[in-house]
């Protein structure tokens, strides 16, 4: 409690970048919580009237959570990747919670903190995409990451390229094929088991 949150997160980001996986373990719940809180505030209409962009959300989070003097773009790329992953979790968790609720499986009470930010009904795609994305990840992890960053993280092509350390062209190509593949996957039309 002694350290301001931005210092802690900055340090964790740096440690993670230098290969410390424990740092990631500590970082993940923090980012999840902060992102969740931000998304929830956003959904409650606190900022009604503005076009909402996921990147804007993450950017703000980033500005708020990190010590800007001490982090560089490398950290930021990591942060974005992390946020995209957490956003994916938030959205799928909510969708799942919603479903189990509907099925009457109220066994897991929804605590105040994980109250839904997104209505699963309004977003039936999320779970399906998440599942298909897992499958794609097994065949081609990078393409799955491109989709995660763009769809869940809201990153544009350049930002995605920066995070993945590839050219924007590669991102465009990956994105194109991944979308076609996912769409096919979701339409259940599978060929040769792939």
């Amino acid at each position: 409690m002694t350290k301001p949150v931005e210092h802690e997160i900055t340090e964790l980001l740096q440690a993670w970048r230098q290969g410390d996986e424990h740092a990631l373990e500590k970082l993940t719940p923090q980012v999840y919580r902060e992102l969740h809180r931000a998304a929830k505030r956003c959904m409650k209409g606190e900022r009604d009237g503005h076009t909402l962009q996921t990147t804007a959300l993450i950017n703000e989070l980033y500005l708020r959570l990190t010590d800007l003097k001490r982090v560089d773009w490398q950290n930021r790329a990591h942060f974005f990747a992390l946020c995209a992953r957490q956003m994916r979790r938030i959205l799928t968790d909510q969708a799942r919670a919603r479903q189990s609720h509907k099925r009457g499986g109220g066994a897991q009470p929804i605590s105040l903190d994980v109250a839904p930010v997104v209505s699963a009904q309004s977003h039936p795609e999320v779970l399906a995409v998440d599942g298909a994305l897992n499958a794609l990840g097994k065949i081609d992890p990078r393409k799955s990451q491109v989709v995660e960053l763009r769809f869940f993280g809201g990153l544009n092509v350049e930002e995605t390229a920066e995070v993945l350390k590839v050219s924007p062209d590669t991102v465009v190509r990956d994105w194109r094929l991944a979308k076609a593949w996912l769409l096919r996957e979701l339409s259940q039309e599978r060929l040769d088991g792939c």
Binding site: T54, L68, M87, E125, R173, L183, C194
Partner: protein
């Protein structure tokens, strides 16, 4: 599926997509080469690709947002009311829509009462959702409507129509500056003309307490031949104040959307309080864009853009468009300073500087001098040339003092500028600037500045600033690069906080080389302004001194310093020529006389001159320097040195040394001279050691200083410390011959003759002796010691010294000490007398030198000490 197969699918997929649709089938056919399964795979993917449409194109979270909650279907653009042409809104008839955006919708309309054209702006309803928001909106709009200025778009009315608040304002027939620029560059005159008007508009608003907060080309209208008009004063605040708890969040978000982000100032991005200077920053961006056709920071990726705005210096506008005046570049850069304190403080100042940019120079000069002292503007500052430039970087030191350290003992190392042009002929300028900065900073008593000698060890090395800072035990390190152009130099400097490696301050400067004379006063006052908060008047005087108005003289001085620093016989002689020429160009150039004095003094040490040749010259030059500027610590130090070593006026020398230290406590040599030229001769060894420690703090890597520290211990009789110190000196630089010789003399004092011989041999080799010569010589000494003990050693020493003296290799004092060592008092005193007559400065140390132990108590020795002024 295996990776190979997947890769194949991918390759064919992209190949087919790239092909002309008519050729796609052929491409598929060829690529699959009979592999039917592959073909079907790719075909199905291609089909899904065709059908993908908007699949996944909207990020998940945004999708969620759109489809949830209760939308107001009638609202667009953040929920502003929509009207079609012909609609009557209060007293206005809508003629058509002019535009829509994040700030609402704007209509062209006719005021049916007054019969004039107006623009109606309906704000997004979401901005005015409740009574308090509406009130805030009205308050802001009213404040803006009170602004009456030819360059501000006039607000006629603030009203409400069916619950939709709107503003009626002056209808402007023209286009926005954004459309006006559209990627092209404007010429200097036009930029000045437009810029002055925008600045005047801002100035008028600021004087009424209204900050625009969203200055950008889209909010500026250029009306044909008429005036420029700035729109939407204060309205951005409405967005900012929506979420009172965290202005940053809503601001960055909405600005990212409305495209304002590139114009946002660092403090705005950080969510800090904004004031007039935020508008000044934005105006800087606008000027930048007009000058170069692009914005200072162009990163596509918003976090990168934010990072650049917060931390990176903008690319120099003149590099992007060499047609714009350099003065304009300075104005722009000053407006774009990261720290609001470093920017123009008022928009009026920008207008003044823009006007001066195009005005004849006599006028500008007058303006400069007639202006109040408080805000010395960038134009004067940046137009300064080299001597000033050195001073300019000095400011960094003050940024440091102001912002980083609470600890009263502050310290900095200024690393040599890295010369990007790697052109040997410009080296003297590069080094001269670094030295100038060190010199200037050195005069600030509250700051410990690592001396030139220690920092130049890092010259030409890509040293890590933080690591160097740790080595030198300082809190901050200044690093920089310099590029030489035909007409000037560009310097980018960065101040690094050693504790965490972060940047405290960074900035680019550009200086034309041609304009030396004018620069002087301007810079001095600019610096003084900067330092005012911290410096007392005595300090101010120090900074205002001793430079020259004459650029030629200054360049000659820099060349002199460059050669002096080579510390070679030829270098010293050359430096004297340059310093002399500098004094000819400007007979009142005090620093050039200091250089001359330094050169003669160093020349004496190196044996280029005899004391009788050099001392009077050094004294004359130092005296002249002090006549011109009595506060030059370096000159006092040299004068002290002459008084001690040549005049044998020790009390006089002490006065000079103390004065030198008082004036320039960061001058390492002043401490050295005081220790060696007064304290040690007087037998005040404890104080001498303390003084040497101070010198070493300032110049920790200097071999000469470290070596002399060892000597100070030796003369104080502390052999243990002396041994340690010599070992440290040799570790620091094993190739420094003097350290081996001094170490050897220490070793003989503790009876380690054989080791002493070894050290002497090393020293001889390093001084250029041939190896066989050195080893033969060492063997002789060793034999003498092994057969005759210490006496044998000293006899051999006398023999060798006499031989070398015949060949002109050793001095008078060496002979005196060699005789004293073997107990030949008569000869020793005889040679001491000679040394005295030759005014060999080292004679002041005879009282403490162990060599002369045998003479102690002899009345003739006592008489000599008395004549030199030493206590017996």
């Amino acid at each position: 599926m295996d990776a190979e197969r997947w890769e194949k699918i991918e390759r064919v997929f992209h190949a087919a997509l790239q092909a002309d649709p008519s050729r796609r089938a052929t491409v598929l056919e060829d690529s699959c080469a009979g592999d039917e399964s592959l073909r079907r795979q790719v075909e199905s993917l291609l089909a899904h690709h065709e059908n993908a449409g908007a699949f996944l194109e909207t990020p998940a979270f945004a999708t969620a947002k759109q489809t949830s909650g209760s939308e107001k279907p009638s609202s667009t653009s953040g929920g502003a009311a929509r009207f079609t042409a012909g609609a009557i809104v209060a007293q206005y008839r809508v003629l058509g829509e002019i535009g829509a955006g994040g700030m609402g919708i704007v209509y062209k309309a006719e005021d049916t009462k007054l019969g004039r054209l107006v623009a109606l702006k309906f704000l997004p309803e979401t901005l005015v959702t409740d009574a308090s928001a509406l009130e805030r909106f009205q308050r802001e709009a009213r404040a803006a409507s009170a602004l009456n200025h030819p360059n501000i778009c006039t607000i006629y009315d603030i009203a409400e129509y069916q619950g939709h608040p709107f503003i009626a304002m002056e209808y402007l027939d023209g286009r926005t500056l954004r459309e006006h620029i559209l990627g092209r560059t404007l010429d200097g005159d036009e930029i000045s003309k437009l810029g002055i008007q925008i600045a005047e508009a801002l100035s008028a608003a600021h004087s009424k307490g209204v900050v625009h907060r969203d200055v950008k080309p889209g909010n500026i209208v250029v009306t044909g031949s008429g005036p420029v008009k700035v729109l939407d004063f204060g309205l951005a605040k409405l967005i900012g104040s929506q979420d009172g708890n965290a202005p940053t969040r809503s601001l960055t978000e909405s600005h990212m959307v409305s495209g304002t982000l590139p114009y946002m100032s660092p403090e705005q991005l950080r969510g800090r309080e904004v004031d007039a200077r935020t508008d000044i920053y934005a105006l800087g961006v606008v000027l930048y864009e007009m000058s170069t056709g692009r914005r200072p920071f162009t990163a596509e990726i918003s976090p990168q853009l934010i990072d650049d705005i917060l931390n990176s210096p903008p690319p120099l506008p003149h590099d992007l468009n060499s047609k714009i005046p350099l003065k304009l570049e300075e104005i722009i850069l000053k407006s774009l300073e990261k720290d609001p304190e470093d920017r123009y403080q008022t928009a009026k100042e920008i207008a003044v500087d823009l006007r001066r940019m195009t005005a004849p120079s006599s006028v500008s000069q007058r303006l400069v001098t007639s202006r109040p002292k408080r805000f010395r503007t960038v134009a004067r500052f940046l137009w300064a040339a080299i001597p000033i430039l050195a001073l300019a970087i000095l400011m960094i030191g003050w940024v440091l003092l102001r912002t980083t350290f609470v600890n009263p003992s502050r310290s900095i190392a200024v690393l040599p500028l890295v010369d990007e042009s790697k052109d040997a002929s410009s080296q003297y300028i590069t080094d001269g600037i670094t030295e100038g900065v060190i010199d200037k900073l050195s005069e600030i008593p509250a700051l410990r500045v690592i001396s030139r000698n220690s920092v130049f060890k890092f010259k030409g090395k890509e040293a890590d600033a933080q690591a160097v800072g740790r080595d030198l035990k300082v809190q901050a390190v200044l690093t920089g690069r310099i590029a030489h152009q035909a007409d000037g130099v560009t310097i980018s400097a960065e101040l690094v906080n050693v504790s965490d490696g972060s940047q405290i301050w960074g900035r680019q400067f550009r200086y034309p080389i041609s304009d030396l004379p004018r620069a002087q006063d301007q810079l001095a006052s600019a610096i003084l302004d900067k330092l005012k908060l911290r410096l007392n008047s005595a300090d101010e005087t120090r900074l205002a001194r001793s430079a020259t108005d004459n650029s030629e003289a200054y360049q000659l001085y820099l060349q002199g310093r460059y050669h002096w620093n080579q510390r070679t016989l030829a270098g010293i002689k050359k430096s004297i020529e340059f310093f002399q020429q500098a004094t000819e160009k400007d007979p009142n150039f005090a620093l050039a006389y200091v250089g001359l004095a330094d050169a003669y003094s160093m020349g004496n040490n190196l044996g280029v001159f005899t004391p009788r040749e050099s001392a009077p010259e050094a004294k004359a030059a130092a005296t002249k320097a002090l006549v011109l500027d009595p506060r030059l610590g370096e000159a006092h130090a040299i004068l002290g040195q002459v008084k001690s070593h040549y005049d044998f006026d020790l009390p006089g020398a002490q006065r000079e040394f103390l004065k030198a230290i008082e004036l320039n406590p960061n001058y390492a040599n002043a401490h050295l001279y005081y220790a060696g030229g007064y304290l040690t001769p007087m037998g005040r060894h404890g104080e001498a050691i303390a003084e040497m420690k101070k010198a070493l703090e300032l110049d920790p890597l200097s071999s000469a200083l470290n070596n002399y520290m060892g000597m100070t211990y030796l003369l104080a009789g502390d052999y243990q410390k002396s041994v340690q110190q010599f070992q440290h000196t040799i570790d620091l630089d094993p190739t420094f011959p003097l350290a081996h010789f001094f170490f050897a003399s220490c070793l003989t004092e503790i009876g380690k003759y054989e080791q002493a011989i070894e050290e002497m041999q090393k020293g001889a080799l390093l001084s250029g002796a041939r190896p066989e010569e050195a080893s033969a010589w060492a063997a002789e000494f060793l034999k003498a010691f092994r057969t005759g003990g210490p006496n044998g050693y000293w006899q051999k020493n006398l023999e060798v010294t006499l031989k070398e003296h015949e060949q002109g290799g050793t001095g008078t004092l060496d002979l005196a000490s060699a005789y004293a060592r073997v107990g030949d008092k008569e000869k020793a005193l005889e040679w001491l007398q000679k040394a005295y007559e030759e005014r060999d400065g080292n004679i002041t140390l005879v009282k403490s030198y162990p060599d002369y132990k045998s003479l102690r108590g002899d009345p003739r020795f006592s008489a000599l000490l008395k004549r030199i002024g030493l206590p017996d």
